[in-house]
């Protein structure tokens, strides 16, 4: 498994592999709702704040939050196109990332923008969130598309 990469100095090359079993805990419902075509956020009625990504506990008062459905419509707050990335996403390049302001949500949401015409993209443009039919149980199961 180990191979020598250099002798002076001695450098050895070794792979290391880990298998993670990651629990989404109380945010599970976000992912399982996607199969019903529903986009869910969490809300603290006490603090009148709606969170996406969902938070099971309100950061302001530490009360438990409740689930609310959102429309998935919104506007672009800012955007970029990536031409380089970390190892895992090199195969996807180039791609677009956006922060979106979603109706009924107090936080901005970071997601990919899928569009055929990047030149038309601008701050304030209307978007709609889309849900993958082939879930990977990741935040990448949803993305934004222009809503025209």
């Amino acid at each position: 498994m180990t191979e020598v990469y250099s002798f002076d100095p001695l450098i050895i090359k070794t792979p290391y592999e880990i298998t993670y079993k990651h629990s989404y805990g109380k945010t599970t419902k976000f992912f399982t709702s996607l199969s019903d075509g529903k986009l869910m956020a969490t809300r603290c009625d006490h603090c009148k704040q709606t969170f996406l990504p969902p938070r099971s506990d309100c950061p302001y008062c530490l009360r438990e939050t409740k689930w609310v459905q959102i429309s998935g419509k919104g506007r672009i707050h800012t955007f970029t196109t990536l031409y380089f990335s970390g190892e895992k996403f090199l195969k996807d390049l180039p791609f677009q990332l956006v922060y979106v302001e979603l109706e009924g949500v107090d936080t901005l949401f970071l997601t990919r923008l899928k569009t055929k015409d990047m030149k038309k993209v601008k701050v304030g443009m209307k978007i709609k969130m889309k849900i993958s039919r082939d879930p990977e149980w990741r935040s990448s199961d949803i993305w934004a598309e222009p809503d025209e």
Partner: protein, 430 residues
């Protein structure tokens, strides 16, 4: 009253994309030797009462508990030691922690040891590790990459305030070219035997023509990734006066934080935390904290200025070492630190205020773009640089007199993590 705390010595290793000649602990010894033996001090290794160890991630070496290896390798057992971590701000947090240890009386003389060896994985994996320092449930899986996050913030800054790619390029030119007079700098092949071969001076045109990594950020807008180490020695007032005739005092320290996912910043719940010289009406229209700025940077500055009695930073500071992870974030940070109004950071670089010969030089060392970014060492490097500047010996250590800021009496070091998740500001004075 807490005890006064001084910096009494500093040391650096040469920085490089890959210091394969030495292990991480051997690099730390290189910097520790300089701190102990090359500063003009009356201090032996046995006088150190404990250490604060600063490194970012076990992932880079697959060695957990590395703090213990460093404490052990440098021969400080059985004295107290602790490891501090906070992403890119690890070094700044470690300096602050050492301050707390000395001010509280737990240690009289403390060594801060910062290091990182990022070359044991390839660059794309290194970038992926850094991206694992964003939310791995939400932000990482969509293609998360720090240059992308900063590009989103930079684009919003451009949109909100009219900042330009040319202004960003000017920051890169300033820092890269400053580094050409600092022998430790990774982009300085004339003075650093471990430097990159294609280093040297650059122009605004070079930056603008370099390829986009994430629009609007180009390759030369982005900081280095380095191997290296930095060491500071801090002491209580009583000890400091015995150790050196020119202690440099830590007169203020502040630390701020913000949401791990920049989008979670509560845009509608907060206003701008005000600095003494600012007026509320400046920011009546400004949605804050947005993704255009770093609330944590502002908060850290507010605390540090209050502690050090600074009411007008542009006038009262003589130089700054600032965490220029990106050219855009240097401009954003000018505003967070109150050197100019929010939105006017681009003008500051344009007007040359932060140039080596400007009113308030920023990153005479070359910063993260010109000199190094070996994460856990970075904030400590800034402290070493500031210490040498305020002692007036930067020329001696840098191997060139060009970087020494004349008559520098007071400076600020600024350390920054994530998309602004941790930021520290520390004021040092002669």
């Amino acid at each position: 009253m807490p005890r006064k705390v001084a910096v009494v010595a500093g040391g650096l290793s040469y920085f490089s994309k890959a210091r394969r000649d030495k292990t991480q602990e051997e690099l730390a010894a290189e910097a520790a030797r300089m701190a102990l033996f090359d500063n003009d001090i009356n201090l032996s290794k046995d006088d150190i009462d404990g250490t604060i160890v600063s490194y970012f991630s076990d992932h880079f070496e697959n060695q957990l508990l590395f703090g213990s290896i460093i404490q052990d390798y440098l021969g400080f057992n059985p004295k107290p030691s602790v490891r501090i971590e906070g992403g890119g701000a690890t070094g700044g947090l470690a300096v602050r922690d050492a301050y707390a240890h000395v001010a509280s009386g737990l240690l009289d003389v403390a060594m801060v040891i910062g290091f990182e060896k990022m070359s044991e994985v390839n660059t794309a994996k290194g970038n992926e590790f850094i991206a694992l320092a964003s939310d791995t449930d939400w932000d990482f899986p969509i293609g998360g990459f720090y240059s992308g996050y900063y590009a989103l913030m930079a684009k919003r800054h451009m949109e909100e305030f009219g900042t330009t790619e040319e202004q960003m390029a000017m920051v890169a030119v300033k820092n890269r070219n400053n580094a050409q007079h600092n022998k430790f700098a990774q982009t300085n092949p004339k003075m650093n035997p471990y430097a990159m071969k294609d280093g040297g001076k650059i122009t605004v045109d070079d930056v603008l023509k370099s390829p986009y990594v994430a629009f609007p950020l180009k390759r030369l807008d982005i900081c280095l990734m380095s191997d290296g180490a930095a060491v500071m020695i801090l002491a209580s007032e009583e000890k400091a006066k015995k150790i050196t005739d020119t202690p440099i005092w830590i007169t203020g320290t502040g630390a701020g934080t913000d949401a791990m996912r920049a989008g979670d910043r509560p845009r509608t719940l907060s206003g701008v935390p005000m600095l003494p010289h600012e007026k509320k009406e400046w920011y009546k229209e400004l949605e804050y904290p947005g993704v255009h700025s770093f609330r944590a940077g502002r908060e850290s500055a507010r605390q540090a200025y209050k502690m050090a009695g600074i009411t007008n930073p542009l006038k009262q500071l003589d130089l700054i070492e600032l965490h220029d992870a990106y050219t855009s974030s240097e401009i954003q940070t000018y505003e967070d630190l109150g050197l100019t109004k929010y939105g006017q950071g681009g003008k500051l670089i344009e007007e040359g205020v932060t140039a080596l010969d400007g009113d308030l030089p920023v990153n005479p060392s070359g910063g993260l773009i010109g000199a190094m970014h070996a994460v856990g060492a970075t904030g400590v490097m800034q402290g070493v640089e500031m210490f040498w500047q305020l002692q007036g010996v930067a020329g001696k250590f840098h191997g060139s007199d060009k970087t020494q800021i004349k008559n520098a009496e007071r400076g600020l070091i600024h350390s920054h993590a994530g998309t602004g998740t941790y930021v520290t500001a520390t004021i040092m004075e002669r």
